[in-house]
């Protein structure tokens, strides 16, 4: 093995992967191009737009600001794992569809990951709190209003599921 290659093993959406990667490979590139999980999108590669947000354990992180080697031994979740195995959409996905919370859909995976994590921890947020939680994800199409409505609705759907 070349000196700068590292063997890593990690879990994504419950599937275990083992790969050899260069130390400088971004986690976002690793997920997209090595594992073929291209649902995670890359918008800026400097940690501002939020499109590449994934869950590390259960925390939202920007996969463009992490190296693949840093994810060694960790459990990740991406947009591909949100819907259930039988194809039923997660309440956050359902609400985004119901409220027209996406247009081009490019920022959507990052928003879904940010907000599923947020709503899991904050089941009854106010609209202002939802806006605050969303403010690290840029969307250029929707003006956010329908996303905010979708998240309020998703919170209600998730509360119902939990009860």
């Amino acid at each position: 093995m070349q000196p700068d290659q590292h063997e890593i093993e990690l879990t994504v959406n419950g599937t275990r992967y083992r790969r050899t990667v260069e130390s400088r490979m971004l986690l976002s590139d690793f997920l997209r191009h090595e594992l073929g999980l291209a649902g995670t999108h890359v918008g800026c590669e400097h940690g501002v737009c939020g499109a590449c947000t994934i869950l590390l354990e259960s925390d939202p992180v920007r996969s463009c600001l992490m190296l693949a080697v840093q994810a060694n031994g960790r459990a990740l979740a991406t947009v591909e794992g949100l819907a259930s195995a039988d194809g039923e959409l997660h309440p956050v996905q359902q609400a985004m569809h119901a409220h027209h919370g996406l247009q081009c859909g490019y920022c959507t995976p990052g928003i879904l990951m940010t907000m599923t994590a947020y709503l899991t921890e904050h089941p009854s947020p106010s609209e202002d709190e939802v806006r605050e939680a969303l403010s690290g994800n840029l969307c250029r199409c929707t003006g956010y209003q329908n996303i905010v409505d979708a998240m309020m609705d998703a919170a209600a759907r998730m509360r119902e599921e939990a009860s």
Partner: protein, 781 residues
């Protein structure tokens, strides 16, 4: 035909793929043996290129090839002019188009100098550092006023000046109007529009299949058919050998229709040369300089009015920054020139502009496409005039609106589509009245604002009107085809970047053919699926392609009824087309499914009558004689902190008329997004260049896009004045949200801070907190 779905807020067909991460975007295209491309870009704005040495880069392990302009040989040509200037008598237009790689001279920071092809993107970017470039710096042309001085450096050496174009258009006699005026208000205005900054940057993948002699190009373009035709010509291939696919595109808003970008020229050529698939994905830092901008204009404008506030005439002389090349013709400044007339009766208009070459990235349309600039000027002039004449701001607008019986209303001058600027239909006063009512205009001014002021709060109101020329030609087409499984396939030539075409077009088909919209598959942006078309721009997708889809579906409907009447040996009038089948009225059990009719339309045996076309399908084209004019009014109540100039939008109202509406949910989304971009434009988004043409804020951490905390909840309402120019009565809506926001906010901030009493006027956009601080300190008392 029933209209069960047309006009209904049908949920989008395309959402599921996008929500589950399964939609194919450009960077998701993976091909075996694919190579990756990186571009070396100029770091100075203006220089003579003395020498490039790529020998070290070529030796780096993993690098497959490195090319400079000379390596392109005869393939190196200035790109063709994309948009011809309209035939306006007396105009000057000096076309200078971008080149595939800089040779001899660089003209803006970001212009590509060399291209590296390597086994990975990481390696390709590494090798950029190995290239040695020798440049002789020239002074950069950045300021559009100084650019016109004889002492200025010249962007294009062979031109005697930096004038890219000079255009004069007029109607009536402004001099006479001015002589008869009670007052004339004259000011200088500066309006800057930034970058569209879609969350997905640009990208190109090219795959030359030598054995099949076929080129496939995936491109984040808004106009795949033109890309195919142009690249086929450049590459010496037949158009049938080139397939261009615009996959899911992550936002466009204008700059993705620009062509040919140097990267679009490079990738297919490289793929042919190396006989391997190649990919280039723009990074965000490149995007700030390698993708086109819209930027700024300076207007010296005046308005002549009668004592009752009626406009007698408007005169405007403006400068337009076109950047280093003007391949997009005159679209942006012509839009500014035409849209300034707005929804008003302006009997005399005298408008001259000069487009100026600068050593800055290329300027092409971005959502609004110059309309913002014109709307800002006329709306601000009306505010100033209202104050001088002591007429209410809304009232002066109302008095000047074109009356409903004056349509079609001919504004005489030539628009971007080369046709006279004629408004097809409109009923403007109810739109204004609805907006005033919704925002509570009178109540705010009489009751609420005095209370806020007593409390020491700076709260103001703004209101602005606009028109938007939409849905221009030349044409679009659609092929509607019933499949044997009963599903319907529709192909059109336009690209799609989130406008919901997969749903709105499906709604049109569903009504014509009596099926559910979810049973309609739409294909856009694949030149092998549909051969002809122009593209998605100028708020024209729904208008032009939508009507083509309607025509083609109607033809398929007629075919289906004809086939069924033959099968049942009954009159077509006795047939009902619903629920995916044709049945005989009153005999529910007697029916034939659409899918079966499609099979029968392609029989394997037996004779058919001469003239019969196989398949249950039709291809139709639609071309409107000219654009349809939408209109609207935006109103806002804003609060501003007088110390920090932090701004809070308390209310935002949009009342809009875009003719008949296919899907109100999608329409509202378009308006929301437009307003959000307008807010970014009005407050944050300024491309800050230094005097050497360096962009100082080329990252999303420095060039701020509005977040969920900056965009308020919007209250929307509509009126419907159908367009007579197309059978569906549609007008475009894509850009409307973005157009008047700057004008609304300048007015509302002035009002909130009571700047008039301090003799401060806000005559520019953007108005960031720091800019407001400067303006109020400089000129304040």
């Amino acid at each position: 035909m029933s209209t069960r779905f047309f006009g209904a807020p049908v949920k989008r067909n395309e959402d599921r793929k996008l929500l589950t991460g399964q939609a194919l975007f450009i960077d998701d295209v993976e091909l075996p043996g694919m190579l990756h491309v990186a571009f070396l870009r100029s770091q100075v704005a203006h220089a003579r290129l003395k020498h490039i040495d790529v020998s070290r880069a070529r030796k780096r392990p993993g690098v497959v090839a490195v090319y400079v302009a000379e390596d392109y040989g005869d393939y190196w040509q200035p790109c063709p002019l994309l948009v011809q200037p309209p035939p306006i008598p007396g105009s000057t237009f000096n076309p200078r188009t971008q080149v595939p790689l800089a040779r001899d001279k660089v003209r803006y920071v970001g212009e590509p100098l060399a291209v590296v092809v390597a086994e990975s993107r990481y390696l390709a970017e590494d090798a950029l550092d190995d290239i040695d470039v020798e440049l002789e710096s020239l002074s950069a042309v950045v300021d559009i006023e100084r650019a016109l001085k004889s002492s200025s450096a010249r962007v294009h050496d062979d031109l005697g000046s930096n004038i890219a174009a000079h255009v004069h258009q007029m109607k009536g006699d402004y001099r006479k109007a001015a002589a008869n005026a009670q007052i004339i208000v004259k000011r200088r205005f500066r309006y800057e529009h930034g970058i569209s900054s879609p969350i997905e940057t640009r990208g190109v993948v090219a795959h030359w299949n030598a054995r099949g002699q076929q080129m496939t190009i995936w491109d984040t373009t808004q106009a795949p058919v033109f890309i195919r035709n142009g690249l086929a010509a450049m590459l010496g291939l037949g158009e049938r050998q080139v397939r261009v696919i615009a996959p899911f595109v992550g936002g466009g808003f204008g700059p993705k229709i620009m062509m040919f970008y140097p990267e679009e020229v490079a990738l297919p050529w490289i793929s042919m040369r190396l006989n391997r698939p190649v990919k280039w994905i723009e990074d965000r830092l490149e995007h700030f300089v390698a993708t086109t901008h819209e930027r700024g204009q300076i207007h010296d404008a005046e308005i002549a009015l009668a004592a009752d506030g009626r406009i007698l005439g408007v005169k405007d002389v403006f400068l337009h920054d076109t950047g280093a090349y003007n391949t997009y013709g005159l679209t942006v400044p012509i839009n500014s020139q035409c849209t300034m007339l707005g929804p008003y009766v302006i009997p005399a208009y005298d408008s001259t502009f000069t487009a100026v070459f600068t050593n800055l990235p290329i300027v092409t349309p971005y959502r609004g496409a110059g309309r913002q600039h014109g709307v800002f000027v006329i709306e601000r002039l009306l505010d100033l005039a209202a104050r001088e004449l002591d007429i209410d701001r809304a009232e002066i607008r109302r008095r000047n609106l074109i009356p409903p019986d004056a349509f079609p209303y001919n504004n005489e001058i030539i628009f971007q589509d080369f046709a006279p600027l004629s408004y097809d239909s409109g009923n403007y006063e109810p739109v204004l009245a609805k907006a005033l009512d919704a925002i509570g205009y009178q109540r705010f001014l009489k009751e609420e604002q005095p209370k806020f002021r007593e409390e020491g709060r700076c709260v103001g109101i703004g209101i602005a009107c606009y028109v938007e020329g939409t849905g221009i030609g030349p044409y679009e087409g659609a092929k509607v085809q019933v499949q044997a499984n009963g599903k319907v396939n529709v192909a059109t030539g336009i690209g799609t970047q989130g406008q919901g075409h997969f749903t709105s077009f499906a709604q049109i088909v569903a009504d014509q053919l009596g099926i559910d919209p979810s049973d309609v598959d739409i294909v856009t942006g694949d030149t092998d699926q549909f051969y002809w078309g122009a593209g998605t721009f100028a708020s024209r997708g729904a208008v032009v392609a939508g009507n083509a889809v309607n025509e083609a579906s109607a033809a398929v409907r007629r075919k289906a009824l004809k086939l069924a009447s033959d099968a049942f040996e009954c009159a077509e009038e006795d047939l009902v087309l619903a629920d995916g089948k044709v049945s005989i009225a009153g005999i529910p059990g007697k029916f034939i499914r659409l899918g079966e009719l499609a099979q029968r339309a392609n029989p394997m045996r037996g004779a058919v009558r001469p003239g019969t076309e196989p398949g249950l399908e039709s291809t139709q084209y639609f071309g409107p004689p000219s654009g349809a004019t939408a209109n609207g009014v935006h109103a806002a109540i804003v609060e501003i902190d007088p110390l920090t100039f932090e701004l809070k939008v308390l209310r935002y109202v949009v009342v809009h008329d875009c003719g008949t509406v296919i899907n109100p949910m999608i329409l509202e989304g378009q308006i929301h997004g437009g307003v959000a971009q307008g807010i970014g434009n009005a407050f944050f988004e300024k491309l800050a260049f230094d005097d050497q043409g360096q962009l100082l804020n080329a990252s999303l951490a420095d060039y701020l896009l509005p977040t969920a905390l900056d965009v308020p909840r919007m209250e929307l309402d509509h009126t419907v004045t159908p367009s007579p120019l197309n059978p569906l009565g549609i007008k475009g809506a894509g850009e409307a949200g973005a157009i008047p926001v700057g004008a609304v906010f300048a007015q509302a901030i002035e009002d909130a801070l009571q700047l008039t009493s301090r003799k401060i006027e806000l005559l520019e956009i953007p108005l960031s907190p720091s800019r407001l601080f400067e303006l109020t300190r400089q000129e304040g008392t």
